[in-house]
């Protein structure tokens, strides 16, 4: 029974009508707006057979404490049937500081694995053949350095770079917008990103040099439309920089990949993924005149929404995650991370991450949802929502174009304030119980205690000792020389990747290499607004 006066909206606040019928789809042309899976504009998916050909890659984001401990977790996950790896680095690594830097105190290994040198990267992938396992690395500001370490390990293993498959996140724009793990100012950072895209196109044709990410934008409190629009507009910015560098669109566009959130509102999320594919196909064809079909196809990873997990009644998080993962699968994701029930508290325990992986396996092998592509295609409600999402995103594209592009928009604080407004509005709605969060503002009960993964200070000590030994053992003359060559290159315009590789091979540390860049590029400070 309808409640008089009650507003029905999506999680992002989009109003929902009482019923969806053909009436709401007037002007909708299935041939133009949908086509069949695998055909332009790919609304229904990028492959003709979708998961009948191959299920999505089950890729749990994982990393904690030392590279030794994380390596053990990777072996465990692969034994459990996980089909790809995804590296989580700790905050010092993400910020380009070595484990023994003063600002790293208390942070080493807390949010991910601590990697300060090629030696740590060698340990991280010990016994894991990089020519066979695809690896995704969540690293942004110092992405070029960590990627160079990865390529150097592959080289040591005798793997052919041309056969390597994986992804570095390397999406600096969303750091300024949402995640805030930036080191250098936007323009030199964009130059480093462009260096990796160019290097990748020449040397690692199967590796994605960037994963243009909406996940963090959403976690920072954006709406679904903002997540979609800012992410794709970031994508446009990267394309423009690569073209400016002199690359051909079809030379690098097929390797641009994306990363979206899978949040609570089931249909809104599915509409978002479908609209994303359609929008990107049009952007690539109409705005950039890409010719190759692979350039037009938006491939994406998804992760269930960390910010939706509750501290209260943590077992409920298994259910939330399952529903979110189902949305990602029905939206045609290429790979998926499912959060663990304990992640509102800590990095996941082995037991919790196993349930999260099993959730994906149940979806893939038991539920039947992978039997046919885009099974919800043609739903009046979903198609209307997809069209509306697309139009709302285009409106943001126009506004950002008018500001002179995404970097100018960021400098004006535009996406940042849009997100802050949305996140405050949401929190107010939770406060007023207009939005219900089970176990938090309704249906409260006594919490069940859960076993948590503990990371103690021994990880920090272990990493510091290893680093001190490395600094004593390596050829420090060679380190100094490679760093000085790198500094010179940073001042000029040449591609820095080959020189970063030289420094990494000499066992220059992450912090030393980032300091060379800091000397030349400076550090970025945002103007904080509330």
């Amino acid at each position: 029974m309808a409640v008089a006066g009650k507003q029905f909206t999506t999680l992002s606040g989009v109003p929902i009508e009482p019923l969806y019928e053909p009436e709401q789809l007037r002007g909708f042309d299935p041939a133009r707006d949908l086509a069949i899976p695998g055909e332009f504009p790919y609304t229904r998916g990028i492959h003709e057979s979708m998961y009948r050909g191959r299920l999505w890659t089950m890729r749990q984001f994982s990393g904690f404490a030392t590279p030794e401990e994380t390596n053990r977790r990777y072996h465990y996950l692969l034994q459990q049937g996980q089909t790809g790896l995804s590296v989580a680095f700790d905050l010092p690594t993400l910020m380009g500081y070595d484990a023994d830097h003063a600002l790293s105190e208390g942070e080493v290994g807390k949010c991910g694995a601590s990697i300060s040198s090629l030696e740590d990267m060698e340990i991280l992938f010990r016994g894991i053949p990089l020519s066979e396992v695809t690896v995704s690395m969540t690293i942004n500001s110092p992405a070029a350095v960590l990627w160079a370490m990865y390529l150097a390990v592959a080289e040591q293993q005798g793997a052919d770079w041309k056969a390597l498959s994986g992804t570095i996140q390397n999406d600096i724009l969303k750091e300024y917008i949402a995640q805030k793990e930036y080191i250098f100012p936007p323009r030199p950072s964009m130059r480093l990103v462009t260096d990796t895209i160019e290097f990748g196109a020449r040397h690692t044709p199967r590796f994605n040099p960037i994963s243009i990410s909406g996940y963090h934008i959403r976690e920072a409190g954006s709406t679904a439309v903002q997540e979609l629009a800012f992410t794709l507009r970031d994508g446009i910015e990267y394309v423009e920089w690569a073209l400016e560098r002199g690359m051909e669109i079809d030379e690098f566009a097929p390797r641009l990949s994306f990363f979206f959130n899978a949040h609570n509102d089931f249909f809104e999320e599915i509409a978002k993924y479908r609209a994303a594919r359609k929008l990107w196909a049009h952007v690539m064809r109409d705005r950039f005149e890409a010719k190759e079909e692979r350039s037009l196809k938006l491939r994406f990873h998804s992760q269930t929404a960390g910010c939706s997990l509750t501290w209260q009644q943590p077992y409920n998080n298994v259910v939330r995650t399952a529903i979110q993962a189902l949305a990602a699968v029905l939206g045609g994701t290429q790979s998926l991370h499912t959060n663990s029930l304990d992640e509102a508290y800590a990095l996941p325990s082995e037991q919790a991450v196993t349930i999260a992986l099993r959730t994906q396996q149940i979806l893939g092998y038991e539920s039947g949802v992978a039997n046919t592509p885009d099974p919800l295609g043609g739903s009046y409600f979903l198609e209307r929502l997809t069209l509306d999402t697309e139009m709302a995103a285009q409106d943001y594209f126009r506004r950002i174009d008018e500001m002179g592009g995404m970097i100018s928009a960021i400098e004006k604080g535009f996406p940042q304030s849009e997100i802050a407004n949305a996140s405050y509005a949401y929190q107010r709605a939770v406060e007023g119980k207009e939005k219900i969060v089970v176990g938090v503002n309704a249906f409260q009960s006594e919490d069940q205690p859960i076993e948590l993964l503990q990371i103690d200070h021994t990880a920090e000590e272990h990493q510091e000792k290893k680093l001190a030994a490395l600094r004593g053992r390596r050829d420090n003359g060679r380190v100094r020389k490679t760093l000085s060559v790198l500094r010179c290159a940073a001042e000029g315009t040449e591609n820095t990747m080959p020189l970063i590789l030289d420094a990494v091979r000499a066992y220059a540390t992450l912090g030393e290499i980032c300091d060379a860049f800091r000397d030349v590029f400076g550090s970025y400070q945002e103007t904080a607004h509330i």
Binding site: L103, C111, A346, R428, E431, A528, I530
Partner: protein
């Protein structure tokens, strides 16, 4: 009528997750408080200096990285050194129960864990600054 409460909202450590800090800052401002937000990556020294210069009654620390046991004790120590123990320190973020207890024993006035309501935080700050007058403050 009491003068507006002055609050410093600070993000210590390397953690860039500022959603919570910004939401809290706005909520406190909407509740009539004067809020100064430090921005990201503040050291304990920077935070205590800002608290001194801005003459705040409350410092709110937002930490989601797990580094609270390294950061918060240092802030408390600096407040004692500078004879600023009248400044109330509250912590928000991912802080397990046992750590929250330990922080309170070191002088932290309150720890707000995920899911805490904005009203509860506003009420706590009013109560801790104005004591029993908090009830009649509105």
């Amino acid at each position: 009528m009491n003068p507006p409460i002055r609050v410093l909202v600070a993000k210590p450590g390397l953690d860039g997750h500022d959603r919570g800090a910004k939401v809290i800052a706005r909520a406190l401002r909407d509740a009539g408080m004067e809020v100064i937000y430090t921005g990201l990556r503040q050291t304990p020294e920077m935070i205590v200096n800002a608290a001194l210069q801005e003459d705040v009654q409350v410092i709110g620390l937002s930490i989601l990285s797990g580094a609270h046991n390294a950061i918060v004790p240092r802030v408390m120590e600096l407040l004692r050194e500078k004879d600023m123990t009248d400044v109330q320190v509250i912590v928000g973020g991912i802080v397990p129960d046992e750590d929250a207890e330990a922080l309170k024993q070191q002088g932290v006035a309150a720890v707000f864990q995920p899911g805490a309501s904005l009203d509860a935080i506003v009420d706590f700050i009013r109560g801790s600054v104005y004591g029993s007058k908090a009830d009649s403050f509105d």
